[in-house]
């Protein structure tokens, strides 16, 4: 059974312990919640009545050219500028080492004048190789899902809706391969948008850019279909359009972010865990139970429909789907007692997979929007790892023994426990993973494995304490300057509720995919489909409201908020497979 602990700030809330939550395999089982950044964006767009319009759409018959979408929030104006170009098939690759893409795009703060447009046209398509303008908040690129794209254009041009199998197989027309923010290649620093009401929260600007790309993807397909056959072309069915998201292909490049931003990640986890503890603390009622059953059913359909290539993940999804059926059966049999949620979670922890346990947690959070949505506002962090040089060494030792016990008591000497090393490749300076005993470059290892560092600090600290029982931290770092970063981190993270991800990132059994899954869940990605053990495809905004939904006063407000675990539109809306 999961151990619970009371928070200092909210003694009534029982949070799960760091030992439970920060376990890498559990983090690698997270699903997106209503606090995920994609969900937050559509809620905010609805609540603040953002006005989004296409102000330029200059594409040729093949869909190549430029398009501009304007975003007007209550206080600021932004533009998403998209450059679509012809790309030879043999240059189309999702690898980060690609040099050209079907389209490139950016999110710009303020208006776009001809001078800026010209600068962007010259640089945005080059991505990393360009020098980007400081008014840009985000730059990104995407490649077509070739099979889907052509199938959609052909169907629409011939006056048909695309086959449902195309819709189900890949729920997107474009797949991004990197979405850059925070000063990359000359664009605006995150520090500049901090304090802005629109994009203060991490990754909110990136999410907005990707959301607009999703709209463009269908606008473009419909445009090409019209050009191909103006007399027969039709627009995409609204439900199908809503079911389309934007794919994303991600490799190891995402993993170091979780290690290099420990305060931020701890804050994300804390928000999620506080939401969960809040849900646990609510007294269940019959409508709540029915709603949970309904959500389980939707998630079951979603899991059943998901076309996942990775065998292991596909199996996990099937197990989760079957286990959700057990959850429904359990919910329908058990009396509606005040501790029903707690009992459900305990039962699931005893009998079900991690994937299902975390799915249940995700769905429980979904039940209480009024109580948990404000937690979104606490998902940024002032990131500052500071030394406390006057901390007595005995106190530092106590911190290590209390908060880093999982690290200081582990072994880092065997071939298994020091199997991997992380490094940065000369190719686009991307992080990679190498086998220490077999590959070159271990001497240039990135300092991402926190656990062995903590263990080394502990060893040197104990040796110094033998000589100087009243010693201070400054004496340790003066004697061992190489520990400066680790000591700062240990002192800082001990003050957070969740602290570090508890894993030895050198260990042979360590799965980098868990790191990717954890981050992607907070961004709001669905359709998690690992390809091998080092990169993954996911989908964003599948099922999310459309721009036309925002402009339609008759749209059910729930459409802007309740769109997780998207299910394919009914067959009636789309053509069935012949």
């Amino acid at each position: 059974m999961t151990e619970l602990t009371h928070t200092f700030e909210e003694p009534s809330l029982s949070l799960r312990t760091p030992a439970t939550v920060m376990d890498l395999e559990r983090l690698g089982s997270f699903s997106p919640t209503r606090l995920s950044f994609a969900r937050r964006l559509t809620r905010m767009m609805f609540q603040q009545k953002w006005q989004v319009s296409c102000t330029q759409f200059e594409l040729d018959a093949l869909g190549h050219g430029e398009a501009v979408y304007r975003l007007q929030t209550p206080t600021h104006r932004y533009h998403v500028v998209i450059f679509s170009q012809y790309l030879e098939d043999d240059r189309r690759t999702d690898r980060v080492i690609a040099e050209a893409w079907d389209l490139t795009f950016c999110l710009v703060e303020g208006d776009v004048d001809p001078e800026l447009m010209s600068a962007m046209a010259a640089n945005v398509p080059l991505q990393e190789a360009g020098r980007q303008h400081p008014k840009l908040l985000v730059i990104s690129r995407a490649n077509k899902s070739m099979r889907n794209f052509e199938a959609f254009v052909s169907a629409l041009a011939s006056g048909q809706q695309p086959h449902i199998d195309y819709v189900r197989e890949a729920g997107y027309l474009y797949r991004t391969t990197a979405v850059y923010g925070n000063g990359k290649f000359g664009i605006a620093d995150y520090d500049r948008v901090k304090g802005s009401v629109d994009f203060e929260q991490p990754f909110s600007a990136q999410m907005a850019a990707v959301y607009i790309l999703r709209e463009f993807s269908v606008d473009q397909v419909e445009h090409i279909a019209r050009q191909r056959d103006p007399s027969r072309a039709m627009t995409l069915d609204t439900d199908t359009r809503r079911y389309l998201g934007i794919g994303n292909s991600t490799g190891l490049g995402m993993a170091p972010f979780l290690i290099n931003h420990p305060q931020l990640i701890s804050q994300w986890i804390l928000a999620r865990e506080r939401a969960l503890a809040t849900a646990y603390s609510q007294t269940p009622d019959e409508p709540g139970r029915q709603r949970l059953v309904q959500l389980c059913r939707r998630a079951m359909v979603y899991l059943g429909e998901s076309q996942i290539e990775d065998d292991a993940q596909a199996e996990r999804n099937l197990v989760a789907r079957d286990e959700l059926a057990q959850v429904i059966a359990w919910l329908e049999q058990v009396a509606l007692e005040p501790d029903l949620w707690r009992r459900l979670v305990e039962w699931s922890e005893t009998f079900q997979s991690l994937e299902t346990q975390e799915l249940i947690n995700t769905l429980l959070i979904e039940l209480y929007p009024q109580q948990v949505d404000a937690l979104n506002d606490a998902m940024s962090a002032e990131e500052n790892l500071d030394l406390v040089p006057d901390m007595p060494l005995v106190e530092l030792r106590q911190i290590l023994e209390t908060h880093f016990d999982w690290a200081i008591n582990a072994d880092y000497e065997s071939d298994e426990t020091r199997y991997w090393f992380w490094y940065q490749s000369a190719e686009k300076e991307e992080p990679r993973l190498g086998i220490r005993a077999e590959e070159q470059g271990a001497e240039k290892e990135l300092g991402l494995a926190i656990a062995p560092m903590a263990e080394q600090v502990y060893r040197h600290l104990n040796a110094l304490l033998q000589k100087q029982p009243a010693g201070l931290t400054i004496e340790l770092v003066m004697r061992h300057p190489e520990h400066m970063a680790a000591v700062r981190r240990i002192q800082t993270m001990a003050a957070t509720v969740y602290g570090e991800i508890r894993a030895n990132l050198w260990h042979r059994d360590m799965k980098p995919m868990h790191l990717l899954r954890a981050k992607l869940s907070f961004l709001g990605a669905h359709g998690f489909d690992p390809r091998g053990d080092r990169w993954v495809r996911v989908t964003f905004f599948q099922g999310a409201p459309l721009l036309s939904d925002f402009g339609d006063a008759s749209t059910d407000p729930r459409r802007f908020d309740d769109w997780s675990f998207p299910v394919a539109p009914a067959k009636a809306a789309v053509a069935s497979v012949a």
Binding site: A188, G434, G441, P481, M484, R531, W535
Partner: protein, 251 residues
């Protein structure tokens, strides 16, 4: 070329790692240079004028303590850049000041002393009053005083000429830093006798410079950038077929 703060700090960090700095010290050195550059104090120019005193540092560089008591320390900077171990010397001063109320650290034989301002900003942000002063070996002799109020991450800086005779063999390569927990050390610089204020910059100027850097980015010479990138490249591992398996699909 125009670069962002994050970009500059990131490339500096990698460059210092490439030069052999340990991780925490590369972090600090990069933050110091970027702090100066983003506050209009030409950190990159200071850095690149004498790279040799930076690259000579080892990965376990630390200040050598010449003398120390509860409130005072004299340390030897070993003719290296303050980037090499100035952070540790300043943390030592901070420790003494938090214990004793106030402290002074004199760092002898150190280079690129201006760059320490970037670290002092961090310490002042932690809530301690800081004043640093040093003399430039130029004619006329220039005395620079940097003052941070506790809690403020921007200083006021005053430079005055000193007309008093100085020994011909004076080296002017030391740096003196005072820290005080409760005393505001230098609300105003006192100018006496033949001293003349060469320049004075207040907190508001630095705040504006930082804001402009965030709004417009910072201009960096391509030569300097390439120099930093060349050091940064020393941290990279050449790609191989094995490494490419982490780079996405092979389609």
């Amino acid at each position: 070329m125009n670069v962002s703060l994050n970009e500059l700090q990131s490339v500096c960090r990698k460059a210092f790692l490439g030069m052999g700095f340990a991780v925490g010290h590369a972090d600090d050195a990069a933050a110091m240079v970027t702090w100066l550059q983003s506050h209009g104090l030409q950190g990159l120019s200071v850095l690149t004028k004498n790279m040799a005193c930076v690259t000579a540092a080892t990965s376990r560089q630390r200040p050598q303590i010449v003398f120390e008591d509860d409130g005072l320390a004299v340390v030897d900077g070993q003719n290296l850049s303050v980037l090499a171990s100035g952070n540790l010397a300043m943390e030592l001063a901070y420790t003494k000041a938090t214990k004793q109320g106030f402290a002074a650290v004199r760092m002898q034989q150190c280079r690129q002393r201006q760059l320490i301002v970037g670290y002092l900003a961090r310490l002042a942000g932690r809530g301690i009053n800081v004043t640093a002063c040093w003399r430039h070996s130029q004619s006329p002799l220039l005395e620079q005083v940097v003052n941070f109020r506790a809690g403020s991450t921007v200083p006021s800086i005053t430079a005055t000429t000193v007309s008093e005779p100085v020994p011909v063999d004076a080296t002017h390569d030391d740096l003196t830093v005072f820290m005080a927990k409760h005393l505001e050390l230098m609300p105003e610089t006192t100018v006496q006798g033949q001293q003349a204020v060469q320049y004075r910059r207040d907190e508001a100027e630095f705040t504006l410079a930082r804001k402009a850097a965030l709004q417009q980015g910072m201009t960096v010479s391509p030569d300097v950038w390439n120099q930093l990138k060349a050091f940064a490249a020393l941290t990279l591992v050449q790609a191989s077929e094995a490494s490419r398996t982490g780079a996405g699909p092979s389609d």
